[in-house]
């Protein structure tokens, strides 16, 4: 039994406020032949510096950056150690210190956390969180094998060598415990592929039906291909500052809070524990939760790392009821099931009622707290080291009221060799003030929850 003591429960605290001011993305694709890794990072960096309505010139802003946090999931993919040095040099930011960050699928979130800590501590006034992945360096099955090295190599990797096979048992168990239908899972895929249809950055846009999803080829039963993210080449950048610099750079800064939680690499090792409650929850809510034999928390149904990350991040930001206080979320939908599992962990629904977040309509554009309007991982990208930065950037643009600017401008579509759909529609959440995003690794080994709050 994991027993936590007072110090473990301490809510993280910045020594001074941290702000996000600008972001940049790339055209996410399976294989970007015409650009190398650092050249793709340059695309995201230029968008961040040149297109975010910043009040100083790109060269002036570069003159303010004095720290970089660099996210990259796996050296296996890049096949190049010390990519951080290549990128920092290529962006013209030498000799500023860059730290490489690696926490699996949560690498992007951890990268933002590291950059934020640099600002909060006073180490830096302006810090760049930048992440990338070049997954096309190998074919898809080899890529799956590499990713399966993020399961335990002694006890799990040889049992499938593909990550869907570590989530599929969770899907089976969750359906058994909490009555999740295949149709509800499919609805998550339909929603996120559809939202990706409105994004010029997206890799897997599509107007699918529930039946299309259920009829798509099987990866590991019960997860179909259309329920899974794909291998992506791409990069993302997010610029963080202290308060004074933030207002010097933009009229639309957002205050940032971010925290993380960790749990065992193997789901198998997650012993039953008491559920840490979020501010709006009571012990009575979960009295009947373990009603079936053998049920445990977090077990195969939930992610303690996500629950702890939410607990700490909500504590930092003073959020007492996430569904009421968040205007949108970007979740780590690597698989439909992991998306659904997270609804309980971050308090969008009580544990056991996660499917209702989809079925009620709350998760859709126009709903109470829409999820993954970016298209998420299933629809838009999972260039792993960049992912948790991409999700944060999409939240930032929503709060800044710039969804249309960054998704509806036909010049962006054309610069990627794409045509803006004739039936394109805006997914700008009206008057969005606060957003949260989740960055998630392994089968829940590392999770960060970040919160951006309108500060203008």
């Amino acid at each position: 039994m994991i027993t936590l003591k007072e110090g473990n429960w301490r809510i993280p605290k910045w020594n001074r406020k941290v702000f996000a001011v600008a972001g940049g993305l790339t055209n996410y694709r399976k294989f970007c032949a015409e650009m190398k890794l650092e050249e793709q990072v340059m695309v995201a960096f230029r968008q961040m510096l040149e297109n975010n309505d910043l009040k100083l010139s790109p060269v002036e802003i570069k003159g303010l950056i004095n720290f970089l946090a660099c996210g990259e999931f796996a050296d296996h993919f890049q096949d190049q150690l010390l990519c951080e040095a290549k990128v920092t040099d290529y962006l013209g930011l030498d000799p500023m210190y860059d730290i490489g960050i690696k926490t699996g699928g949560a690498t992007g979130g951890s990268t933002v956390l590291t950059a934020a800590m640099a600002i909060a501590s006073g180490y830096a006034d302006v810090a760049l969180a930048v992440g990338w992945e070049r997954m096309s360096e190998v074919d898809t099955r080899t890529g799956n094998y590499y990713i399966a090295n993020a399961a335990c190599k002694d006890f799990e990797t040889r049992l499938s060598r593909i990550y869907a096979a570590y989530y599929a048992p969770m899907a089976i168990r969750f359906a058994w415990a909490y009555n999740l239908s295949e149709e509800t899972r499919a609805k998550v895929a339909v929603k996120n592929h559809l939202y990706a249809y409105y994004s010029p950055y997206s890799q897997q846009p599509g107007k699918y039906t529930i039946q299309d999803v259920l009829n798509s080829p099987m990866s590991t039963y019960p997860l179909r291909f259309l329920e899974c993210c794909a291998m992506t080449d791409g990069a993302a950048c997010l610029l963080l500052c202290d308060e004074e610099t933030a207002y010097k750079l933009t009229d639309k800064p957002c205050e940032l809070f971010i925290a993380g939680g960790s749990h065992t690499l193997r789901v198998a090792d997650r012993r039953d524990m008491e559920i840490p409650l979020l501010p709006h929850e009571t012990p009575e809510m979960y009295k009947g939760l373990r009603k079936k034999e053998g049920q445990r928390w977090p077990g195969f149904e939930s992610f303690a790392a996500a629950r702890f990350a939410a607990y700490f991040a909500y504590g930092m930001a003073g959020i007492s009821n996430p569904l009421e206080e968040l205007d949108l979320v970007e979740l780590h939908d690597a698989f439909t099931i992991s998306d659904i599992q997270t609804y309980g962990d971050i308090g969008l629904r009580p544990y056991g009622e996660e499917p209702d977040y989809i079925e009620s309509g709350d998760a859709y554009f126009g709903g109470k707290c829409p999820a993954n309007l970016s298209g998420g991982l299933i629809g838009t990208m999972h260039a792993v080291g960049a992912t948790g930065i991409f999700s944060g950037v999409e939240c930032l643009w929503q709060i800044q009221g710039k969804y249309d600017k960054f998704h509806g401008d036909h010049k962006i579509w054309e610069s990627f060799g794409k045509k803006k759909p004739a039936d394109w529609k805006s997914l700008q959440v009206p008057d969005a003030k606060q957003a949260a995003w989740v960055s998630h690794a392994g089968v829940g080994s590392h999770v960060t929850v970040g919160i951006l709050r309108k500060a203008f």
């Binding site: 096949d79 080899t142 799990e156 040889r158 089976i172 168990r173 019960p222």
Partner: protein, 173 residues
Amino acid sequence: MAARKKIAKYTGKPAKVLQSEPALVIEWPRSLVHRHTYGKLSPFFKGLTEGKLLATRCVNPKCGEHRLWLPPRADCPDCNQPMAWQELPQPVIGTVHTYARVEYAGAGIELTTPYFQIDVELPGVCTIFKGYLQYGTPEIGMKVKACFRTKDPTNTILDVYWIPVLDDTDVRS
């Protein structure tokens, strides 16, 4: 007479060009062999080849966790003290906690697809043990029996697998 010039010769194999437009893409072969130790868990993997399932238990009387660990650990995560080995009594009968049918596997898979991966609850064990079902169709709550690849062992986790327990006769090993 001038000494013969020593020239550096190319001894590699030219990289195969996969495409030349819009950018030059070459093949970059990799064939590597790593060396990996099972460390203090070596008794577990040796045990599989002898038809034994070995777990560990914390023997520190001051520790709060005295159930078995499987996968085993050499050291207790709660009190950080060394644990002791204990063999599970034969036949090892467990219950399917959850499962998945692997249809599309990554490179290097050593089992024929499709097959069922299962996660097994075992009495007295605080963790859940992942393996594969050699035949049959699993469901949650189904009883399964551990079998071992003692002949031609793989020296990996694949030396233990499970079969369905259909009636009492299957329980007798």
